[in-house]
Symmetry: C2
Subunit: 241 residues, 2 copies
Amino acid sequence: MQATAVCRFTAFAAMGEGDFAALGRLAHGRRRVARGEFVCHEGDRPAGLYLLLKGWTASSLSFAGGSRQLLKIHLPGDMLGLPSLALRHCADSIVALTEVDLAIVARRDLGALFERSPRLAALLFLIAQEERVAAMDRLASVGATDAARRLAAMLLHIHARLQRSDDTIGDAFDLPLTQEDVAALVGITPAHLSRVLLKFRAARLLTWTRHRVALLDRARLAALSGLPVRELDRDADWLPA
Amino acid sequence: MQATAVCRFTAFAAMGEGDFAALGRLAHGRRRVARGEFVCHEGDRPAGLYLLLKGWTASSLSFAGGSRQLLKIHLPGDMLGLPSLALRHCADSIVALTEVDLAIVARRDLGALFERSPRLAALLFLIAQEERVAAMDRLASVGATDAARRLAAMLLHIHARLQRSDDTIGDAFDLPLTQEDVAALVGITPAHLSRVLLKFRAARLLTWTRHRVALLDRARLAALSGLPVRELDRDADWLPA
DNA sequence: CGACTTCTTGAGGAGACTCAAGGGTGGTGG
DNA sequence: CCACCACCCTTGAGTCTCCTCAAGAAGTCG
């Protein structure tokens, strides 16, 4: 089990030795997915459950007519397939944006986690709530703000998540998405995204070359986005011991 | 503990006697909120945790400039305040759309649930994932479709949820939202909503008088929405016993 | 009945879309 | 090492959805 995965859990509370061990036992087996390949398709029958170890994936939902919405970018440490756990058919398609390494998690083992490691289960529950907050923020951003604000919010969110697992990245990061992907993520067309980027560059808010992005003025981007910075509750004292 | 709340849990798997009892012990105390009053405000310090017993509430996020996005409509049986459990400050504001009865849930008792009723905890986890799917669907709808499609998706979703707790409602239901609220929910302006409704009525898709809505042709509305019908996994066999 | 909220409708405008063409950029193979 | 190709990004023109602002109609409640 990787450090980036563990830190999602320890973000909320300290873990005991037994919890670390139990978390390590959760995953059995590996799966490698090449860039552009799908981890699963929406509508597929049983959903696999994975921990993303290396690389980026994106989950998306397609509409008749060819339009699609990118729902979320998954980074190392994220669990894949959890929402579809509640359904008969996969809710979303998950595509590998880079070469990806997955750790396979069996449903039974997840069930056993709830039985044997209540504290860990509660932490996993908190991670799910954190994901809900992120989805709520994105919904608000997409539903109530214009393209520039959405883009600012999205870039800041990805940057903040990258920074959580590596606080040495500074303002710049590699973004293995095409502008078509980014447009599908913020809910605009690639052509319009290109125009918005033109303004951002002119305002010295960022640089964006190929797959490298540098956020030159995060404070102004944050103000533009209109979203508050979300602080995690870093010592949840109500959790079982 | 009300039947409508229990059925959110039993939707995924059967519960034992002990589970029913544990669920009943989860709530202590009641809170009544008048229509238009807030259960909590975004940015507030500690988030209360509630089970909605009676009435409707809406959670929303506001932006500078006065625009707001309604994130979710809560119906009886829904838990309130869970996403903010992961944060230092409340993520969303929750307002009572009708007179509302809440059951108060203490964080400690939630923690104890994970410790003593692993099966119930896993079911609560599944409910959280179900909420994530709903949020994903709404994000896709708002990000990738036009006003008519969004409205169709939203109405069908609320209807389906109402039908889950009362399968005698038929096609019609009371909707305690103003058109301003509905507009904020689907991410358009009230003026435009009014125009979209005009078309829907002309196409005999629905009737909409004051606070009463009848979906005359749900099949066409569903096709219009572009979203698949989500079927819950009705016997999750991986859960702890 | 009167004040208020909510809904409808109009005119004008802005943000974002479509379609299309042109120019980079990186990768691949000769 | 260079040429070619595929993909990606940019930019333009025209259009449409949706917004803003505003006024009037309709419904609701005291």
